[in-house]
Subunit: 195 residues, 2 copies
DNA sequence: TCCCGTATATCCGGCACCGAGTATAGGGTC
DNA sequence: GACCCTATACTCGGTGCCGGATATACGGGA
């Protein structure tokens, strides 16, 4: 069986190991330090599952089993040539080919007609505020990272996310206005259904 | 145990049943007809799991077990009062509170520095084209839906998605240019690492 | 009348994922 | 030196999701 590119955590593991050999717990630490866990979902259970899977497919090797004192044994892994190839190819695919994803907000907004217009307006406004806060927080973080001397390329994904959040906020503002003023297509029927 | 709002397919089920009672297979048919499966991931296995879970939590009831001829029995479900309440509350939450999600592209682009700049440029350009095609396809679909006399509110989620795709395309165009011209922050180092 | 492809309707086994649980080491405090 | 809190490192059982398997009905052509 060929390796399945499901969990992006496996990508992170390959990327970390292409720097230097590590044991799983250390990978988690490093991801936390670098705020990588905000971009790639990390939790211990999955981490060990994913490492084992990479190992089975010979994309990484168990290079050493250290045993310092009486601590639990820790297995240090290293990436193989096949692993590096997989990393680069997967990366290319992730960037080049838009994946069909199912953002939860799309599911919600597609059914917004089930809520009374007044309720809809309220929740959309709440989201708008929340998105604004996220943008502010990101701006602060970017400031900090730039101040630490990190180049833009090191936080390019935050740049992308900010662009997306700004677009979302703009759309939300439009929708809120269109609802408030009753100019969204089908408004009359919407209001009629809820009285 | 209280019902867990994990799979949005359960939301779709509640929404469908709030129109009229249905059996699971019919729900799937209806979702397909309405292109809902593009917004909420549907597959048969999950559908039956989700319906069973809703049933266990008494958000829907098995109202009748029809048996037409010798066909497999089909269980028709109906939404309960608790189910309707759950539907509305879940909807409000989905819209009001941005969920932490992990788009695969963010994972990919965050590691783009591992690819040589020339490769990166190529894959980003490919994505830009793909996103353009998706936008074109969506525009055609919108045209068709509007032509059928459906109000904007009925395809509001497509409106949202188009806004997001446009923003993504703009960002991709910027990143491609910045890479081609070497103006992205950290470019020199990036290029140096790959020779 | 027989056959076969398609539509109807559900079921089930495997597997990835998750988060809470476990167990030891190290360091600070009284 | 007894105590306790945090950091280290991994394990494991439960659960939900998935996609292919199953089984019957129906319509149309040879």
């Amino acid at each position: 069986m060929t390796f399945k590119r499901t969990n992006p955590l496996a990508l992170a593991v390959l990327a970390l190991l292409s720097e230097r050999p590590m044991h799983p717990y250390e990978m988690a630490q490093t991801m936390r330090e670098r705020h990588q866990e905000k971009v790639i979902k990390l939790n211990y259970g999955s981490l060990y599952t994913v490492v084992e899977s990479l190992h089975r497919h010979e994309l990484i090797t168990a290079s050493a089993v250290q045993k310092a004192g009486n601590r639990p044994e820790r297995t240090v892994y290293a990436v193989t040539a096949a692993g590096t190839a997989e990393l680069h190819d997967w990366l290319r695919e992730l960037i080049a080919v838009p994946a069909r994803e199912y953002p939860r907000f799309e599911a919600g907004i597609s059914l917004v007609g089930l809520l009374p217009p007044a309720d809809a307006l309220q929740v959309v406004t709440r989201r708008e505020a929340a998105v604004g806060e996220q943008l502010a927080a990101l701006a602060v973080l970017l400031e900090k990272l730039a101040g630490m001397g990190l180049p833009q390329l090191a936080w390019i994904e935050l740049d992308y996310r900010m662009a997306m959040l700004r677009a979302e906020r703009t759309w939300l503002a439009w929708f809120a206005t269109a609802t408030r003023e009753g100019t969204v297509g089908g408004y009359q029927d919407w209001e009629d259904r809820h009285r």
